[in-house]
């Protein structure tokens, strides 16, 4: 398992290489990307902030739960903090498995749980204002 919170550009190729194993026939790589609009507003950029020490502990628990639910070969996650422009990747989740349906299901579950549990926040700076986004109302 690999988990990193970083203020630098995320590294899909590195995460792919981390989870790719000879026993795995499928790798699902999810990219969460900054969109140009949200709640009907024109987004200028996002600011992400994390509580990294706790994020690491929560991720370890989630990945433990994931392995109890699906046959997963390996998992790698990166989240970016700081200022992100439209089109930049904020979250990368890579999941490998012998079986593609398990890789898809586990990847989707992990992104959902991440957004629900991991202590990371974003402030949206839009035309005419800014707002801390709280919870999944976006």
């Amino acid at each position: 398992m690999l988990f990193e919170v970083t203020d630098r550009e995320l590294e899909p190729e590195r995460l792919f290489n981390h989870v790719r194993k000879d026993a795995a026939g499928a790798v699902v790589l999810f990219h969460g990307v900054v969109r140009e609009t949200n709640l009907g507003r024109n987004v200028e950029y996002l600011e992400y902030e994390a509580y990294p020490e706790m994020a690491t502990k929560v991720m370890e628990q989630l990945v433990g739960e994931l392995h109890s639910k699906w046959e997963i070969t390996d998992v790698a996650i990166q989240h970016r903090t700081g200022r992100l422009e439209i089109g930049e990747t904020s979250l990368l989740v890579a999941v490998s498995s012998p079986h593609r349906h398990e890789a898809f299901a586990a990847g989707e579950w992990l992104v959902d749980r991440f957004k629900d549990k991991v202590p990371v926040w974003k402030k949206e700076v839009f035309e005419g204002g800014e707002e801390w986004i709280e919870g999944d109302r976006h």
Partner: protein
């Protein structure tokens, strides 16, 4: 009985104007009591206690969790990491 390190994040940190506070541990001090204490020092965060979750030593904890010296208490506003998609 020592002190508790309190960490604030995101909107709470911005409203309070601080990311970190030290609080003296009194007899029976609970996580939610710390919030009330901070409300009196930083009135801008008053009224938000219902939206906040607590973490003690980097794990989610109930508001009634008792604190001891050396603990790290974090006040966690509703999280919003990950992608910028709505979830449908």
């Amino acid at each position: 009985m020592g002190t508790v390190k309190v960490r604030l994040f995101a909107r709470l940190a911005e409203l309070a104007g601080t990311r970190s506070e030290e609080v003296e541990v009194g007899e029976g001090l609970r996580a939610c009591d710390v919030y009330r204490l901070l409300e009196t020092q930083h009135p801008a965060i008053a009224g938000l206690a219902d939206t906040v979750m607590y973490a003690v030593n980097q794990e989610y904890a109930a508001p009634e969790t008792p604190l001891k010296g050396g603990d790290e208490l974090a006040l966690i506003p509703p999280v919003s990491g990950g992608d910028s998609c709505c979830s449908r």
